[in-house]
Symmetry: C2
Subunit: 263 residues, 2 copies
């Protein structure tokens, strides 16, 4: 079992990813992004991303109903189904689902963000949250019958509402269900970079101990990414491979050990 | 088993449809449209619907890649997932799928439309076609495990490409798989109208013989609709109910015999 997280950047080679996966004789589950597509569509529709700053200084995306609509169009609609189409053209019987479908990814909605508006402190609640568990029964049903799940946000909150969530967290709950040996994360860089601005600084291998010491030294988004990686190892993944999604054969390259191998 | 075809008009009461279905103790499959949403989105994106006129004078929609993208955003993305969300909020474990997903609806791509351009006759081929069969195994797998399929275009062609298709034809191949006793079609009218411009002319009941004689007298789109209805009866449906999707309780009304009952 392989879990493949495909980044939502504009330069990811989706055809390459699909061709590689079609050639592999092992079941897989794909979780994909579509952030470049989403941002472009939001701009075209005149509904650009809203970012709020909390009273404690953190910035976060505010997912109102319009933002979820844009996610539905870009992630669940265009990107998910064009990916499924690529698989079907290669003879792979992919099934594209959001976390809402069959409550594939069950989550919990965030309580809200405390923001200042003039002299007042308000709590603004959006449609976002954290995944709690994957629907293992549905995953197994599909996989055992030869289907290949291709998953995207939104996920379902405790009341069945569509909410935005982080793919890193979704991969974590999927791993709790699937116990995949290998998890591949395809990004727009040749691997995990020691210096984020320099693609020549790929770290070829990272042990769990090195991961923890990097996590301690990092902050913000990078710290959260490293924590998510640590959780994957804790959930039993033997290997997490962070590799370049822009090459001709992104999955084959990752399986050949290119990129950053964390084990 | 009930098949519910939900029209894609702007005034269909989707919440009412979902609330009614959540209260019914019988498995169902939904096939929905989203044409009003699609047309609006196509306009906003600056990619309005293209209509071609064939050399023999027929008009048909030309579904190029952009048109399929718009279908993916509106049907597969926004409408399908918001419908699934409504079901999930009512505790119904809906799974939204296009015909591409798991090759749920396998079709055959149209050969092309012969058009005149200046002095020449060209064949223009788009991404559209006819459904051939539903994936009965996947439908059964989902239904037997308590899931409720909510289906939308596009469907898959013989090479796995996404193609546009008519929901009337999709309902027909579903009926060949599901052998539903009742098929409900929810539209923006109180039923099948004797005079399309006058909502007071609903035909309460139509026998198979009456259906055939109306079909002989009709032409164009109406003739195709009547043929599709006849095919449903031929495929073993005891009742086809054409009812108003705009009321507070559209499915309950249809099951109570409001609208046009064809049997």
């Amino acid at each position: 079992m392989i879990i493949v997280k495909v980044g939502g950047g504009a330069s990811i080679n989706l055809e390459g990813v699909v061709n590689d996966l079609a050639a592999i004789d092992e079941p897989f589950v794909v979780v994909h992004g579509a952030n470049a597509l989403r941002d472009e569509l939001a701009q075209t529709l005149g509904k650009p991303k809203q970012v709020l700053t909390s009273v404690s200084g953190y910035q976060s995306v505010f997912s109102d109903e319009d933002a979820i609509d844009t996610i539905l169009m870009s992630y669940a609609g265009l990107r998910n189904k064009r990916l499924v189409e690529l698989f079907q053209r290669q003879g792979v019987n992919a099934v594209g689902l959001t976390g809402l479908d069959g409550r594939m990814i069950q989550g919990r909605r965030n309580k809200g963000i405390r923001v200042r508006e003039g002299a007042k402190t308000l709590i603004k609640r959006d449609f976002s949250g954290k995944p709690v568990e994957a629907n293992t029964a549905l995953l197994t049903l599909l996989l055992d019958n030869g289907y290949r799940p291709v998953l995207a946000i939104p996920i379902a909150d405790e009341n069945g509402f569509a909410i935005n969530s982080e793919n890193d967290d979704i991969v974590n709950v999927l791993q709790a269900s699937l116990k995949a040996e290998r998890i591949i994360q395809l990004i727009e860089a040749p691997g995990y970079l020691d210096d984020a601005s320099d693609e020549s600084t790929v770290i070829a291998e990272m042990s769990q101990a090195q991961l923890i010491s990097r996590e301690d030294a990092a902050d913000g988004r990078i710290k959260r990414k490293l924590l998510a990686l640590r959780n994957l190892l804790d959930a039993g993944a033997a290997n997490v491979i962070i590799a370049d999604g822009r090459t001709a054969t992104p999955v084959a390259d990752a399986l050949a050990g290119k990129g950053t191998v964390i084990s």
